[in-house]
């Protein structure tokens, strides 16, 4: 070896593989304004679509007169449900087994519902034309409160199914009832409660909010009449699913539908579903023979394309007097709005709400979820969380606090006492999940040590005394949350979307000169897949990440996959990458053995090469092998070096973490200031620590927003309130706290590289942590629960109820 020969460390560094803080490939275009988002795409002859929307929350449509709009120069067409019926597209199936109106068919069921679709030469003319479409409404009684949905005299919302007693998820008990979903051992749970020393019961309302990515939803449809082919660009977190749904709806073969998700300006669950705007753009392109673009504005986004949460969770815990939890019982009233368009795997009407036993070894539990219709927007998407996991974690982590309060214990001690212990993994939960791995005690202890928990509690005690003496008007709250996520949907045995199993995929082609392209069934929306996927491949097959191009979002070139949401990319597609890479590596090993004239078993892998065991100077690099694989493969071996893997995960992954928040609350204004926030995450194997940290910052910021003020609210007439950035709470850099991050590493035993996923953990764990901090501040005064969102006026009202303003 001469001096120029790179050392092993240098070779490793050059790969920029797993574990390094590789700078993002995506940023080169994004920092120069060269991203390519849907609204950046222009096609010759392109038209623009815009919606006429309902001003009422519940009304019968007596007539639609589009003649004035059609008379406006530049207006090409106005679509209504009548036109769509001709194509059998007035309604479309939802992911949850319901049907949803594409355009209002006879009535409207929520404010801003899509009534007519105007198509014009430019977006200005389209906006003028929607003002000219005259819709005559007859108002109907409005149902806003889900607790009144099943009253005997409640207004009938869904006349189309009012007499249908069987829904997609079993029996419907009322015309506004969607489903009842029950999991667990009811008699066993009842019995444990009857025997318990201590029980608590509290209804936690997790309010309605919205994922609100900075880019709204958009689509551009271009139908080629000659070829009979449809090309559809859109803000799609799951482009293949969109292609399948588009094919089922339009009857165009999937082979003639080209779905392309270009760069996406954030998704957070908002861009999983199929929305009327997409369908109308497609229909308008088929009808007019020209490309049609639809881009929603922010108010349309916040008020129509999905929502998140809206769960009323009556949560009960039973325990022994020394703090051993013996049972859990939860009833959820789920407000699904006008159509059941929840984006959950099809067999899971309430997502994975049955992860609600959390990080604790609770021997028996029972969960019931009742879904009901109201005059609100449809949706129920997983806003930066796996399906309903945020709700589940909120319920258990608030309940733990309430129980600790009743027991007179520190909630951390209660958590420690009931944690699933390291040696219990794989752990079978009372509500049916098999947790893969965890070391909760160590994570909790590390967090406590990092923040100086005991000293914080001592400081809080001093502050409370000072408050009682009237020396301060500030209360200190310490919020703790310990969460277990369930991500990586999912195993085909229990996860599918409209019958499509929730595998994911990767195709890797190594080119003859040793660079490579990988194509994926997932779709990044800011997570940095182009960067991190290449790192996995680099480590697996020894090609520098910079020489690996990752491509997603084009259904013509990418293998079929279920897309990116629910933190599934790393657990599922990340596994597919490793498996595809290992197929390549296996073939490469055969080639290397042939070239080095040894048996395959005599070779060992070393960073970027196969070398003969004990003779490291005898080696073939992956680059050498790639050339040979194409041009001089061993006799009898097929040329080429590529592989595809479709990965059906054996189980979910279960990331976890311990979060601690310190808050100072001004009881006179209700303003809560986060003094400190510490987040420890365990996402198993860490692929790129820089990106993990970025994901944690972002997730915590969204958690902060949701917990402290972000909501979609309705007045009694069903008018949506706060659907613009004036009111919808998106914190700026000034309000956003500083985040401290930390980690432990407990790899997933069933994942090829041990990774668990991280993008959503900080949201899932963050919301209860903030809420616990607010609640903790007032707990010493006897308060058990203050509802979210914790905006200043609600905190002030809580203080008022506790008599703190006298």
């Amino acid at each position: 070896m001469n001096d120029m020969t790179p050392t092993r460390e240098q070779r490793e560094a050059q790969l920029q593989g797993m574990g390094c803080k590789r700078k993002r490939v995506e940023d080169i275009r994004f920092t120069q304004g060269k991203g390519n988002y849907v609204d950046d795409i222009k096609l010759p002859g392109m038209l623009y679509g815009d919606f006429v929307r309902s001003s009422h929350a519940h009304a019968r449509i007596k007539g639609i007169d589009a003649s004035k709009a059609l008379a406006l120069p530049g207006v090409i067409a106005v679509l209504t449900a009548e036109e769509l019926k001709g194509l059998n597209l007035a309604w479309m199936p939802t992911l949850a087994g319901d049907m949803q109106m594409v355009l209002a068919d006879g009535k409207v069921l929520f404010q801003n519902q899509e009534v007519a679709f105007v198509v014009a030469e430019d977006r200005y003319t389209a906006a003028d034309a929607i003002e000219l479409v005259e819709v005559e409404y007859e108002e109907l009684p409005v149902l806003v409160d889900p607790w009144k949905a099943m009253a005997p005299d409640a207004p009938v919302l869904r006349e189309d199914i009012k007499d249908k007693t069987e829904g997609a998820h079993g029996r419907r008990e009322h015309y506004n009832h969607i489903f009842k979903w029950q999991v667990g051992d009811r008699p066993g749970t009842d019995e444990a409660f009857a025997r318990a020393d201590v029980t608590i019961k509290e209804t936690f309302y997790y309010h309605r909010t919205h994922p609100c990515p900075l880019e709204t939803c958009a689509a551009l449809a271009s139908f080629d009449k000659v070829k009979g082919e449809l090309t559809l660009w859109g803000t799609f977190q799951a482009p293949h699913v969109v292609r399948t749904v588009a094919s089922l709806l339009s009857k165009i073969p999937e082979s003639k539908i080209h779905v392309i998700a270009p760069d996406i300006g954030g998704g957070f669950g908002n861009k999983v579903g199929v929305y009327p705007g997409y369908v109308c753009a497609i229909v308008a392109s088929i009808v007019t023979g020209r490309p049609v673009k639809w881009v929603e504005d922010r108010m349309e986004n916040l008020s129509t394309t999905s929502f998140a949460r809206d769960y009323h969770m009556t949560t009960e815990l039973a325990a022994t007097k020394d703090g051993r939890i013996t049972a859990m019982r939860v009833h959820v009233l789920a407000d699904h709005g006008a159509f059941d368009a929840c984006a959950d795997p099809s067999k899971w009407p309430a997502g994975f709400m049955n992860i609600c036993t959390g990080s604790y070894d609770i021997p028996v539990a029972h969960l019931t979820v009742d879904g009901v219709y109201t005059n609100k927007a449809p949706g129920g998407v997983a806003y930066r969380c796996s399906f309903r996991v945020t709700e589940a974690v909120y319920a258990i982590e608030r309940a733990i606090e309430v129980l600790a309060q009743k027991l007179g214990m520190d909630s951390v001690d209660l958590r420690m006492k009931n944690f699933i212990r390291r040696e219990q993994f794989p752990y079978q939960s009372a509500l049916g999940w098999e947790y893969d791995s965890g070391d909760y005690y160590m994570a909790m202890q590390k967090a406590l040590d990092a923040v100086g928990y005991k000293e914080l509690r001592a400081e809080q005690a001093r502050k409370r005394e000072a408050f009682k003496r009237g020396e301060t008007r500030e209360l200190m709250g310490i919020g703790v949350s310990f969460f277990t996520e369930i991500v990586g949907a999912g195993p085909s045995k229990n996860c599918d979307i409209l019958g499509v199993a929730m595998f994911d995929s990767c195709e890797i082609r190594v080119h003859p000169t040793g660079s490579a392209i990988a194509r994926m069934g997932t779709k990044t929306q800011g997570q940095g897949h182009e960067t991190t996927y290449a790192q996995i491949i680099a480590t697996e097959i020894g090609i520098p990440a910079d020489d690996i191009m990752v491509e997603e979002g084009n259904t013509d070139t990418a293998p079929y996959g279920l897309g990116t949401y629910g933190s599934r990319s790393t657990p599922v597609a990340g596994a597919a990458i490793a498996m595809a890479a290992r197929k390549i590596k296996a073939k490469a090993q055969m080639i290397a053995a042939y070239l080095l004239e040894v048996h395959e078993d005599d070779l060992e892998w070393d960073v970027d090469r196969f070398q003969v065991k004990g003779l490291p100077e005898k080696f073939k690099t992956m680059k050498d092998i790639a050339w040979v694989a194409y041009n001089a493969p061993p006799p009898g071996m097929e040329p080429g070096l590529e592989a595809v893997s479709y990965y059906d995960p054996p189980n979910m992954t279960y990331p976890f973490g311990a979060y601690i928040c310190v808050m100072d609350i001004d009881v006179d204004t209700g303003v809560a200031k986060t003094r400190r926030f510490y987040a420890l995450d365990d996402c198993g194997t860490r692929i790129n620590p820089m990106i993990i940290e970025g994901q944690v910052h972002g997730g915590l910021t969204e958690a902060f927003a949701v917990a402290m003020g972000q909501e979609i609210d309705y007045d009694e007439a069903g008018n949506v309130k706060g659907a613009s950035f004036m009111d919808f709470f998106l914190p700026t850099a000034v309000e956003t706290p500083y985040w401290e991050t930390d980690y432990t590493v407990t790899p997933s035993p069933h994942h090829p590289i041990g990774a668990k996923g991280v993008g959503e953990s900080p949201h899932v764990g963050g919301v209860p942590c903030f809420s616990n901090a607010v609640n903790d501040a007032f707990a010493f005064l006897g308060s058990t629960h203050i509802q979210m969102p914790h905006d200043p006026w609600r905190i002030w009202k809580a203080a008022e109820r506790l008599g703190l303003h006298q």
């Binding site: 994004f30 304004g33 222009k42 900075l214 709204t216 800011g526 940095g528 700026t732 000034v734």
Partner: protein, 169 residues
């Protein structure tokens, strides 16, 4: 509806002079994106809250979604596309955003960088607090701002000739 007369607009964008006749109601963001095909600036909220449409106009940061193109007549505008040097060398801010992981989905980034550009001209060495107030007209949904602050600090350090921090985390 009466047909409105188009009005002439002359603007210099990224050093290049453009003359167009536009409908008076054409928003500056649409003028930049659709007439000039500079799609770096984005629309995020329509109501002047998010700052994704921020461009630099006559040395000020403005929200181009809440301004008519006619109001920019005679102005000199810089967009994200004008930030890198002609030879392709990235501006210190563009470099800083990448080095410090100051972006994720990239949608807010052009507006954020353009805002930071004016901020650093007015205050070449801002404190963290000054940066946070200085970018408070720009919303980001991905990063939680912490690394954006670091990215701007990175650029400030570089522009002030100081050694820069190596990487995020």
């Amino acid at each position: 509806m009466s047909t409105i007369e188009q009005v002439p607009v002359t603007v210099t964008v990224n050093g290049k002079k453009y003359q167009r006749f536009v409908d008076p109601r054409m928003l500056l963001i649409h003028f930049i994106r659709e007439e000039l095909n500079l799609t770096g600036a984005h629309i995020g909220c329509d109501t002047s809250h998010c700052g994704a449409c921020t461009v630099e106009m006559n040395g000020m940061s403005v929200k181009s979604c809440t301004m008519f193109a006619v109001q920019a007549d005679g102005a000199s505008i810089t967009t994200i596309e004008g930030m890198a040097a002609p030879d392709g060398t990235l501006h210190a801010l563009q470099e800083g955003f990448r080095m410090m992981h100051g972006l994720q989905c990239g949608y807010c980034t052009p507006g954020m960088i353009m805002r930071a550009h004016v901020l650093l001209k007015e205050n070449p060495d801002p404190t963290e607090e000054e940066i946070r107030s200085g970018i408070a007209g720009n919303l980001c949904r991905c990063t939680g701002y912490q690394n954006i602050v670091k990215a701007i600090q990175y650029a400030a350090a570089k522009l002030n000739g100081r050694t820069v921090q190596e990487a995020a985390e």
